[in-house]
Symmetry: C2
């Protein structure tokens, strides 16, 4: 029982999930509790501290074995200063979370945004285990990205690297406005939001599709209809897959990664999505950049965040 342990914190708007990992990135235990954002910053910090203590107490490990705590948060973070600049879901703005937690826990703390820690989790002990250069996509409400180069999270000049959802891939004639203010971003077509929009548009246009009877459209309904052979649904899934594959061809020419990992709700579509993405990638990527390259589904699911956050002390 003398091995080192690392605690990861996934700080969400509704709940805070904490997990213990060993130094190989194996997730040994998880624990969860409410965030209580409505009670303000200090109570949220109190809750994090409480859950970290609770998980170590209910584990077979001693507090002394805990090397460090990492936290991932949906929002803008300054990883150098350890500050959450803006996390709308939690109501945090300019919160020096690292120093607050270090003072209360007496352990070193590191932070990063949710897309980066999820990417690190997958590379540490998920689909990209052992891979040095890897690009992770998270296809959910939006399209998030995390870039792992030489085994570590790559931040960029101002901490904004990995905004893969805002790579422009849709030609102007078909492009729609993105939330970022620009047009044609990957996020407009390959996120769950994009897929739902394309489905609703098809129904509104009067296309013949089983989706016309769906009441609250979601991405899973579209994938299920596509799997059942609905042609309109297949067309929508292929379009989402096409632009995802096209973005990977672009990223490959720049960064020559070994693995692309795709996670988030949309990735649960499985083969119907991945087969098409791989086909498009092969079609649009120069041969030398295809050799040895894999496009893989994420493995850790909702645990990627706690695992990657725990890994911040070893891999950042």
């Amino acid at each position: 029982m003398s091995e080192s342990i690392y605690v990861g914190v996934d700080l969400g708007g509704t709940s805070i999930k904490v997990g213990i990992c060993n130094q190989e990135g194996q997730l040994l235990l998880t624990h969860e509790g409410p965030t209580e954002t409505e009670k303000g910053v200090h109570i949220v910090v109190d809750n994090i501290v409480k859950y970290v203590h609770e998980i170590v107490e209910k584990s077979p490990y001693d507090w002394d074995q805990l090397v460090g705590v990492g936290a991932g948060v949906a929002g803008f973070t300054n990883v150098v200063e350890g500050i959450i600049i803006l996390a709308p879901n939690i109501g945090f703005r300019d919160v020096p979370i690292r120093s607050l937690l270090e003072e209360r826990l007496g352990k070193p703390v590191k932070i990063d945004n949710d897309a980066n820690v999820a990417a690190l989790g997958e590379v540490w002990s998920g689909a990209g285990r052992g891979v040095d250069n890897c690009i992770c996509y998270t296809l959910g409400t939006g399209v998030g990205g995390g870039i792992i180069l030489n085994g570590k999270i790559y931040q960029g000049f101002s901490g904004l690297a990995g905004e893969i959802g805002h790579v422009s891939v849709v030609p102007d004639l078909e492009a729609i406005q993105c939330g970022c203010g620009k047009k044609g971003c990957l996020e407009t077509v390959s996120s769950a939001t994009g897929i739902i929009r394309m489905a609703n548009d098809a129904v509104a246009r009067g296309d013949r599709t089983t989706l016309a009877t769906v009441e609250n459209m979601n991405a899973k309904e579209v994938f299920d209809a596509a799997k059942a052979g609905d042609e309109v649904a297949v067309r929508i899934v292929n379009r989402a897959a096409f632009y995802l594959g096209k973005s990977m061809a672009i990223v490959a020419a720049v960064l020559n990664p070994e693995v692309f990992i795709v996670g988030g709700g949309v990735s649960y579509a499985g083969d119907i999505l991945f087969n098409e993405v791989r086909e498009v990638y092969a079609k649009l990527t120069p041969d030398p950049l295809q050799r040895g390259v894999s496009i893989l589904p994420a493995l850790l699911g909702n645990n990627a965040g706690v695992v990657g956050a725990a890994g911040l002390h070893l891999r950042s």
Copy 2:
């Protein structure tokens, strides 16, 4: 005279250029001689060794002050093994240049490809001096790229990172075939070759342009005509600039670099190119990715290669 010096070698098909840099990347002396590729690998290696000795002899420095020698070459290199895999201009295939040179020079040797060493040169002591994260474009016959992340050359999984010329930017309807086998690559529109092709196409179509009287079209003629107000030439320059700026917007979303540096023959066009590139970048890039970011012309010209090669020992 006790300071350390580094020798950089720019191994070209016609001539070999060598240069001495101090540890701040200042180029102190250059020297040049014929490559003599027609005489085979061993004579080319003899020539490199000879020119390295000659430049140190004619400098005020002692051989003992020489810390290491770096070489840049147009072609595919295995930087880990120190092998030139294929350099068609020099007639090298699978040449273990590092061990050949180390044996003859008795100094540590490092190698890399020409685009990477040029990028390193610009970051070490050129337009990107002091910058950690920087993307360098070389617009010549093709479009080459070098990526500097955290102050060092980024190689990618199989040493192919920085193939920015093969980022797909031209919409399918207007895309033409690229030498890489794919369509719509940046290289098809923003290289000298692409600019000359667009000019020849315009003339062949019968567009009203002063370029119609040019005999051997080159990129400089097109830029000169554009500067003189020729509308067809302006349209061509703007198109080359548009796709260059578009590619930078894409790269920015992925890598969030601080500086883009543009070198190579086409970059001598100056403001007529750079002003348009900056405008397009501003239009296509989400605001946070524009803040603090510069698009700059390369400063070292033809010396970027020797400077960057000399820097391989400090920055790779």
